[in-house]
């Protein structure tokens, strides 16, 4: 697989006015080193061969696209197709990034990995690749997320990772990311920060996009093979935005709608819609849209889905919004749950709560596009991790 090389950030790591590097000086040199190692790796056929082999034999790629026929029929609009990232080893798209970053960490000679996790999927992916390559893994996870994503905490432990609970703030993804970055500031000479989303200081948003863009590259070719045409719309959920940018990237220059779906939470004041309702500020090393008050203090967010419960968003999504290339809409906890149940009952697929937000919006988009059209949805992960929390909530 080759790097697309299109829509690169500028020399300061900016996508339009967004991105950049806003971090303490202590880690600036490490970002320079990472950028150099990334460029070397991307130019090295051996890196791509190694990554492709792991993708095929360890992760299970390529993942299929799947026509959700019964769901499409019930919705009564365009055909709904799913890009099945839920079928990846470890159950979500996060492993694509983790494999690539592990190979780069090895090239940097770093044997200790720190990461943050929200839903636990990136934590599990990190723990998995660290086990595979014999690296030490330390995963920061908010205390609230540890409570609501218990199965993934158990999996990380079994894989040999140290899970560090974070009680600061609301005990969710933002707080976990703060602590992962603080660990990295102290240990940067021996430690690689394996960020899980297309966020953070440059070069992370670009690096993660490049490592996830195979989702869209595969899906685009698969759609052309299966349908002889491109979809009318592509839809994916957006927390930090890694699965979405991975899917969207290949369709950037195509004449199709690009729809990102943020968590609308309770549908009123408690949500995680950084793009739709945030302001331009700085969080976790880059300039983007942030849910913050007028002083720049980050405010509390809410989503039923831990992976979308984040007050920031990757800078390239901010750029896609500002340029009008993509639209970013919200789906509430309740509507995401309804979408979750419909996919379970109609297609025999249990989706992650994060992906359920995309499914809920895809139903609306399919009706807007109408019969004869095609909507492609990023099914970013499977819902095994969520079944206990949903059962408890619904008294199942």
């Amino acid at each position: 697989m080759s790097v697309t090389g299109t829509h690169r950030p500028d020399a300061l790591g900016r996508f339009g006015q967004f991105g950049g590097r806003f971090v303490p000086e202590t880690v600036m040199a490490a970002l320079d080193e990472l950028e150099a190692a990334m460029s070397d790796a991307f130019a090295d056929p051996a890196f791509h061969a190694q990554r492709d082999a792991l993708g095929r034999d360890f992760v299970g790629r390529p993942t299929p696209i799947y026509h959700a026929e019964r769901l499409s029929e019930v919705v009564g609009g365009a055909q709904i197709w799913l890009k099945r990232e839920d079928l990846n080893h470890t159950g979500a798209h996060k492993i694509n990034n983790a494999v690539g970053q592990a190979l780069i960490a090895l090239r940097l000679g770093k044997r200790r990995i720190v990461a943050e996790t929200g839903a636990g999927q990136h934590g599990v992916a990190t723990a998995t690749v660290c086990a595979r390559f014999g690296l030490d893994a330390v995963v920061y996870m908010g205390a609230e997320d540890i409570r609501r994503q218990r199965p993934n905490v158990v999996r990380m432990g079994m894989l040999g990772a140290e899970v560090v609970p974070v009680t600061a703030g609301a005990g969710t993804l933002k707080d976990a990311m703060n602590e992962a970055i603080r660990d990295w500031i102290a240990t940067v000479e021996t430690t690689h920060y394996m960020i899980g989303s297309a966020a953070g200081p440059h070069p992370y948003p670009y690096l993660v996009r490049e490592l996830q863009s195979l989702i869209g590259t595969e899906a685009r070719a698969q759609m052309l093979g299966a349908c002889r045409r491109l979809p009318d719309a592509v839809v994916a959920c957006v927390g930090g935005g890694s699965n979405a940018i991975g899917l969207f990237h290949a369709f950037r220059d195509d004449p199709c709608r690009i729809v990102g779906v943020e968590a609308a939470g309770d549908g009123a004041d408690l949500h995680a819609q950084s793009l739709a309702k945030g302001r331009v500020s700085i969080l976790h090393g880059s300039r983007s849209y942030v849910l913050a008050n007028e002083d720049g203090q980050v405010v509390e967010t809410h989503s039923i889905s831990a992976g979308l419960d984040y007050p920031g968003v990757g800078p390239e999504h901010a750029h896609l919004l500002a340029t009008g290339r993509a639209e970013y809409l919200g789906e509430s906890d309740a509507d995401a749950l309804a979408g979750f149940h419909r996919l379970c009952r109609l297609e025999g697929i249990i989706p992650a709560l994060e992906s359920s937000h995309a499914l809920a919006r895809a139903e609306r988009v399919a009706r807007e596009v109408g019969p004869g059209g095609i909507v492609l949805v990023g099914l970013s992960g499977r819902g095994d991790k969520d079944v206990d929390a949903i059962a408890a909530r619904e008294g199942i």
């Binding site: 000086e25 603080r182 940067v188 980050v298």
Partner: protein, 247 residues
Amino acid sequence: MELKRPALVVYLMASSDAPDLAAAAVRGGATAIELGIPYSDPLADGPTIQRAAQRALDAGMTTAGAIAILAEINRRVDVPLVPMTYGAIVESFGLERFCAEAAAAGAEGLIVADVPPEESGALRAAASANGIDLIHLVAPTSREDRLQAAADASRGFVYLVAAMGTTGARESLDVRLDALIGRVRTAAGGTPVLAGFGISRPEQVAAILAAGADGVIVGSAAIDAADRGGAEALEVFVRNLASGLPA
């Protein structure tokens, strides 16, 4: 900014008791005051300053409120005042408005912990237009080119990070500290070099000055002292630290 050398800079968090604490610190021998403007997600700070920031925010502190505290401190003491905060805070307030209002309140310098030289162009212009010295940081990991860029971009003083990691008192400082002080000293030319992060004891102060630095910055340990025993304890703590300064 005219810094007395050797400099002993004491960091306090903007809060209603900060003016009393600043006066106590100056009585104890502080030659400048660094005032933290709280931010919800301070990546460069360890537990002590994080807690102090959260306490301030919980008590309703705003950026405008912190600038008012700065003005009050300026009425109480006659040493240089240097606000310290994060990019999100100054950008949200507006770079020009922040620098103008901070300068009117008595700020002579400004430290923004997560805005490195390559991102600081507009901030530097706003600070300079308002007579504020923008201070950049150098770290044990900074290579020569970054070190020189930070030294060149800094006005007032260069802030040398004396320990890897976030702010907070610790037993030992970075093993490369002596060499680093020498490198920064050379790069900084006539600009003073002050070391901070991890410093809490007079013998650390003495060692840093002996290695060629022009002063030290003490934050978390000062906040701990004030938390334990208020202004009186802070004054005793600073006086003890000042005993590490050459007479």
